[in-house]
């Protein structure tokens, strides 16, 4: 059976095909834990073989930038270089060469390639709120929170949270803290305390 090699994620005991197809809970043959498998057609289909690059037949044919002996199949939509089937990487609807793929991954400009993002909004909000527990620290942390929020304003943030509400909240809380310090200092200078 191509592809069907399901095992219990805990004890690695093979799960039977009939049990996998039934869609109800069955005890695992290895650890006896009630296990239910929802099987999809991809489990029974063999993996598609990778495309092989074709060799050049005549010298006048367009050749791959990275493999001069291979026939070009597409061009990179990032840099325009000709690519053979081996070098072509398809991301969504775009065809890219390995160099452009690495560059976009490093820039974090393409959502499909992003694996990790720093969260400046969470950091700014944390810097603005947590020091309230030790309020004298806010003299330093309030401006720091604003600086982090402004630095992160134009940076790409979370893939799944589109809004800048945390950055705005961080700036708002920090401004309030700065206002409080300003009033306190003004009162001290006036001799109110």
């Amino acid at each position: 059976m191509p592809g069907l090699s399901l095992t219990c994620p805990q004890c690695r005991a093979p799960l039977g095909a009939a049990e996998s197809a039934s869609g109800v809970f069955h005890p695992c043959p290895g650890c006896a834990a009630p296990t239910r498998v929802r099987l999809y057609p991809a489990a029974l289909r063999a993996l598609a073989a990778g495309a092989a690059a074709e060799p050049l037949v005549v010298e006048s044919e367009a050749a791959c930038f990275y493999h001069p002996q291979k026939r070009a199949a597409v061009h990179c939509q990032g840099c325009g270089r000709f690519l053979c089937s081996l070098c072509d990487v398809q991301i969504g609807l775009e065809h890219l060469c390995p160099g452009c793929l690495d560059a976009r991954r490093a820039q974090g400009s393409q959502a499909e390639l992003v694996r990790q993002r720093p969260l400046y909004d969470s950091a700014a909000l944390m810097i603005a709120l947590v020091p309230l527990l030790l309020w004298p620290l806010t003299f330093i942390t309030a401006p720091a929170a604003i600086a982090v929020a402004l630095y992160g304003w134009s940076k790409p943030g979370s893939l799944v949270r589109g809004s800048r509400i945390r950055l705005l909240l961080a700036i708002g809380f920090s401004l309030l803290q700065i206002l409080g310090w300003t009033l306190a200092i003004a009162a001290i200078l006036r001799g109110a305390f």
């Binding site: 059976m1 592809g3 069907l4 090699s5 399901l6 095992t7 219990c8 994620p9 805990q10 004890c11 690695r12 005991a13 093979p14 799960l15 039977g16 095909a17 009939a18 049990e19 996998s20 197809a21 809970f25 695992c28 043959p29 290895g30 650890c31 006896a32 834990a33 009630p34 296990t35 239910r36 498998v37 929802r38 099987l39 999809y40 057609p41 991809a42 489990a43 029974l44 993996l47 959502a111 499909e112 992003v114 694996r115 990790q116 993002r117 720093p118 969260l119 400046y120 969470s122 950091a123 944390m126 979370s158 893939l159 799944v160």
Partner: protein, 337 residues
Amino acid sequence: MYRRLPGRSLAFTGYHRLYQGPDHLLLASETGFSERYKRFFFRDVQAMVLRESKAQWVWNAIWGGLLLLCLAVWALALGLSSSVEVGWLVFGGIMTALVAAPLAVNVLLGPTCHCYVVTAVQTERLPCLKRLKTAERLLQAIEPLIDSAQGAFSEQDLALLSAPPPDPARETPSAVPPRIHEAGLRADSGRLHRWLVGFLLADLPFTTLVFLAPSWGYVVGTLLFSATAILAIVVAARQRGTNLPGTLRALPWLTLALLAAHQISAVAYAVFAGAQGRPGLLMGMLAMEDPMVRGMSVVSTVLSLLLGVFGMVNLRGWPPGPGAPPRPPGSAPQTPP
């Protein structure tokens, strides 16, 4: 671009959530000030595996035990005091409610499970799906997308699925899919578990010492208690992903449960004694001349001994010899003839 899906969890490893992308499932894990992403493309998902876990029963037992303890202390306080004080009633009621609420929530949320997404090259746990109901809702949400990406089962596929399963006894090791070997469990000799058993068994001489010389025996007993708790936590953390049997895996958790029960009951009795006008107990100076304290110490020592013997029995014949057949975790270890 991304739509939020059912399921979220907050754990030591971070805050996890699932999102639906245009052609994939996105697992976003927020750890500190960064967010990590894992993508599972609908066209690649071979199966979703749901495995029932015992977490709900464990939490029910913990919260239920605490509730019983609260009720017992409350009833004891009311029964022993000469006049019923409103303060005790309110305090007991609040404590009972604080323990009963999580128990009720745990019961209402339903059975717990582990959910895994299986592709051709990985089996990845979705840590944000811990309840069966939530996992069902997620499957309802993504199954149409998987179906539209992969199409329906062909008649040949259905024939394969309805075929009788192969006889496992006739399968040779080479017939086992390669990823079973690659994703093997870490071998554990059970050395830390042996240390833990030693600490549990050491409770008897140390408790005897506490009875004979309470002044410094109490200090040594407290040190042993702390060392056992720390060792149990270390053992529980280190045994993850090992080939240890389920009974040995339970040992550190049972030890922690015993220590927690002992500590909670001691604190509860100390609070009760403080309310009775014996503040020395409330300050943690448990006097061995108190019959209740002596009784609790004896019960705790007996339970420690039983746990130690339980560990010793299960550690016999572990690790299995090189010629021993492979054994799935969770089953009992083989003892030598």
